[in-house]
C-alpha cells in the first residue's frame, strides 16, 4: 500500500525528537562521559601496553570505533523508543492524525539519526581534544565527511531499532535486545582490534556485521585509511554495504511499524 508522505509531519516528528534529546542533558553528558572513559582507559591504558596499530597510535585506532559505539547505541535505542511512545500513549496521538504512518516513521528515523549523530559529533570533538587525530587540512574535510557517514550509519540502525520496537510488545525484552543484538554488533565491529589480526572464522563474523563497515568508513574519514584486508577501495565497499543495509533496514522498519497494532 502506497501512503502519501507529508513533509510537515516528517518535520514535526523530527522536531520532537530533537527537543526531547536536547532537554535530556543528563543523558547527553553521561553518554559522552562514558565514551570518554572508554577512550581514556583503553586508549592510554591498553595503548601504552600495545603501542599502536599499523602506523597510528592505539588511541587513534580506537577513536572512530568508540564514536561508532555511541552512534550504534544511540540510534538503536532511539528506534526502539517506539515502544515507549506506544506504552505512554503518545503514539495514538500521532496515529489518529490525518498523516500516513510512513511519514511518522520517516520523521522518527531522521530524528533518531540526527540525535545520534549529534552525539557522534560531540565524541569526535572529545577524541580530537584528547589528541586522537592529526591536525591537517585533510582532517577538516575528513571530519565533514565523517558527519555525513554518521547520518548514514545511524539511519540504518534507527530502522533496525524501529523494526525491533514494532515487533516486541513489552520493554522487558530490552535486556535481551541489548545483550544479543547491540553488544555483538559493537564487539564485532573492529573497535578494539584490527580484522587482519584475528582467525578466519572470526573475520567472517566481523564481515557480516554491518557496523564493521560503519567503523571502517569513519576510519577512512578521520585517519585516512582502513583495514588492508579490504584494499585501497575499502571505503567504497564499506559505503556500498552501508547504503544497502540502510535501504533494507528503513524498508523493514517502516513495514513493521505500519503493520503494528495500536
Amino acid at each position: 500500500m502506497v501512503q502519501p508522505l507529508s513533509g510537515q509531519a516528517i518535520y514535526v516528528v523530527l522536531l520532537r525528537e530533537l527537543k526531547r534529546y536536547w532537554r535530556a542533558k543528563a543523558r547527553i553528558i553521561s553518554s559522552v562521559a562514558q565514551s570518554f572513559f572508554f577512550l581514556a582507559v583503553f586508549g592510554f591504558g591498553l595503548g601504552g601496553f600495545i603501542g599502536g596499530v599499523g602506523r597510528v597510535t592505539y588511541l587513534s585506532y580506537l577513536a572512530p570505533g568508540i564514536i561508532g559505539m555511541g552512534l550504534l547505541f544511540g540510534s538503536v535505542f532511539s528506534g526502539v523508543s517506539v515502544i515507549f511512545d506506544r506504552q505512554f500513549g503518545f503514539m495514538k496521538e500521532m496515529l489518529v492524525a490525518p498523516v500516513s504512518r510512513t511519514s511518522i516513521i520517516l520523521g522518527k528515523i531522521l530524528g533518531g539519526a540526527a540525535t545520534a549523530s549529534i552525539q557522534g559529533i560531540l565524541l569526535m570533538v572529545v577524541a580530537g581534544i584528547m589528541g586522537a587525530f592529526t591536525l591537517t587540512p585533510a582532517l577538516a574535510f575528513g571530519a565533514f565527511a565523517a558527519i555525513v557517514v554518521m547520518l548514514l550509519i545511524t539511519a540504518g540502525f534507527v530502522g533496525l531499532g524501529v523494526a525491533i520496537g514494532s515487533t516486541l510488545n513489552d520493554f522487558h525484552a530490552f535486556q535481551l535486545l541489548s545483550t544479543f543484538i547491540i553488544w555483538p554488533l559493537f564487539m564485532l565491529s573492529g573497535v578494539f582490534f584490527p580484522i587482519d589480526a584475528v582467525p578466519f572464522p572470526f573475520q567472517v563474523a566481523m564481515l557480516l556485521d554491518p557496523m564493521f563497515y560503519g567503523v571502517e568508513l569513519l576510519r577512512w574519514c578521520l585517519l585516512g585509511a582502513g583495514t588492508p584486508l579490504l584494499g585501497p577501495l575499502g571505503w567504497l565497499i564499506s559505503l556500498g554495504v552501508l547504503i544497502g543495509f540502510n535501504a533494507l533496514m528503513i524498508a523493514i522498519g517502516t513495514y513493521l511499524f505500519s503493520r503494528a497494532q495500536v
Binding site: R16, G89, F90, E93, P98
Partner: protein, 402 residues
C-alpha cells in the same frame, strides 16, 4: 425540528481473534451538536466502537460515516473531521503544554499564524494560559486532562470523542471537566461522543445515552426517558445470607405490584477486592477446563475476559467458589406503602434482612434493568484492572515506575 445526523453507524461489527465479538452489529445515528454518552461496563465495546469510528481499527463488517465520510473509504477525511481524547494519557510529558498543542497543530497542517492564534485561544478557554510553558510532567491530573481536551479541539473538528474523560479524577476536578465539556459543546458547536462507566456523568452531561453491553446496544434514549421506563420506585433489599436470595425471589415474582425483580452481584463492599480475585480464579479455571477462548478486552488489551456465559452466571447467580449476591432489587408501584408488606413477606419466609432502601429510579437502576448487572461491578480481567489502576495513578500525577 429535524436535525442532521453527523454520524451514521450501520451494522458495525468487530470480531477479535475470530471468535470474540467485541462490537456486535450496532446501528445508531448521532445528531449534529448533541452530547451522546456511551454507557457500559469495562469491555462492553465502547472504546472499540470509538476506535473504529476514528479509523484506528478496521471493522470486521459493517461501516459508518462521520461528517459524511466513510470510515473505510475515506479515513483521512474522517480523521480531519474528528478529535479524539483517549482514555490513556497521550501527552508528551517532556514537552510543555504549548508545545504539545503546537505539535498537534502541525500534524493537522495548520499554518503558523492560525496555530499560534488558536493555541492561545484554547489555552485561555481551558484556563491553562499561565502554565502553558511549563513541562506537562509538572501538571496535575485535571490540568493534563484539560490540555488533552483542548488539543482534541485545536483543529476545529466537527466531532469530539472523549473516552472516559474523568477516569481517576477527584469529584471536584470531575465537575470542572464537565463544565468545560458543556461549554465547549455550546461555544464551538462541536458534537461530542463520550464513553463513561459513571452513570452520574452520563446523566449530567449527555442529551442522549446509549447503553452498550457485550457489544450490543441495549438502550438508546434521553436520560429522562430511560428513567421513565422504570415506572414506580426502586426497593433494594440486602440480605445477611446470600443463600436466602433464591428462596425469597419467587415470593416477589408472584406479586402483581412488583414489576421487576433483579439480583445484583455484590460490589462496592469490603469484599469487592477479594471477590474480584475469586472471580478471576473461577474464570481461569473454566477457561482451561472448557477450552473456551478468553474474551479479549474491548481495547484489544492483553487481558482475557471470561466468556459470556460465565459472566452471565457470575452476575445473575451464585457460582461455585464465588461469593454470591446479597442484594435484590424490586421495582414496585408506590414503594413507600409497600415496604411494610415487603418486610413482612421476608419475615414470614424466615429470612434475615440486613437493610431496605427506597429511591426513585436512577440511571444505575436503568442499567441494572437492561443488563441485569450493576455497572459499578468492575468485571474486567485482572490485567485490565491493573491497566486502569495505572491510568488512575497517572491521572493523579504520580510517576509510574518502569
Amino acid at each position: 425540528m429535524s436535525r442532521n445526523s453527523i454520524i451514521e453507524v450501520d451494522a458495525l461489527t468487530k470480531v477479535f481473534n475470530r471468535q470474540v465479538r467485541a462490537v456486535d452489529g450496532i446501528d445508531f445515528d448521532v445528531e449534529e451538536g448533541e452530547i451522546l454518552g456511551f454507557l457500559g461496563p469495562n469491555g462492553a465495546g465502547k472504546t472499540t466502537t470509538l476506535n473504529m469510528l476514528s479509523t484506528l481499527l478496521k471493522p470486521t463488517s459493517g461501516t459508518a460515516t462521520v461528517n459524511g465520510y466513510d470510515i473505510i473509504e475515506e479515513p483521512d477525511a474522517v480523521r480531519r473531521s474528528i478529535g479524539y481524547v483517549f482514555q490513556d494519557p497521550t501527552l508528551d510529558l517532556e514537552l510543555t503544554g504549548r508545545e504539545n498543542l503546537d505539535f498537534h497543530g502541525r500534524l493537522y497542517g495548520l499554518n503558523k499564524d492560525v496555530r499560534e492564534q488558536r493555541v492561545d485561544e484554547i489555552l485561555q478557554l481551558v484556563q491553562l494560559a499561565d502554565r502553558a510553558d511549563n513541562l506537562v510532567k509538572t501538571y496535575s491530573g485535571g490540568m493534563k486532562r484539560r490540555l488533552e481536551i483542548a488539543r482534541g479541539l485545536l483543529h476545529h473538528p466537527k466531532v469530539l470523542f472523549l473516552d472516559e474523560p474523568t477516569l481517576g479524577l477527584d469529584p471536584q476536578t470531575r465537575r470542572s471537566i464537565w463544565a468545560h465539556i458543556q461549554q465547549l459543546n455550546q461555544q464551538k458547536q462541536v458534537t461530542i461522543i463520550l464513553t463513561t462507566h459513571y452513570t452520574e456523568e452520563a446523566d449530567y452531561l449527555c442529551g442522549r445515552i446509549l447503553i452498550i453491553d457485550f457489544g450490543k446496544i441495549v438502550a438508546l434514549d434521553t436520560p429522562d426517558n430511560l428513567k421513565a421506563r422504570l415506572e414506580g420506585d426502586v426497593v433494594s433489599l440486602t440480605f445477611k445470607d446470600p443463600e436466602m436470595i433464591a428462596k425469597v425471589r419467587p415470593l416477589f415474582e408472584r406479586k402483581d405490584w412488583v414489576r421487576h425483580v433483579h439480583i445484583v452481584s455484590s460490589s462496592n463492599d469490603h469484599a469487592a477486592a477479594g471477590e474480584m480475585m475469586n472471580m478471576m480464579n473461577v474464570m481461569r479455571g473454566m477457561d482451561v477446563s472448557s477450552g473456551v477462548m478468553g474474551r479479549v478486552g474491548s481495547e484489544g488489551a492483553i487481558g482475557k475476559r471470561a466468556p459470556r456465559q460465565i459472566e452471565k452466571m457470575l452476575s445473575t447467580g451464585p457460582v461455585e467458589g464465588s461469593p454470591a449476591s446479597r442484594r435484590l432489587i424490586l421495582l414496585v408501584d408506590d414503594g413507600g406503602h409497600r415496604i411494610p408488606s415487603i418486610v413482612k413477606l421476608v419475615d414470614e419466609a424466615g429470612v434475615d434482612l440486613e437493610s431496605v432502601e427506597l429511591h426513585k429510579p436512577t440511571l444505575d437502576d436503568v442499567f441494572i434493568s437492561v443488563t441485569g448487572r450493576n455497572i459499578r461491578d468492575e468485571q474486567g480481567s485482572f490485567m485490565e484492572m491493573i491497566r486502569r489502576h495505572r491510568i488512575i495513578r497517572q491521572a493523579r500525577g504520580q510517576r509510574v515506575p518502569g
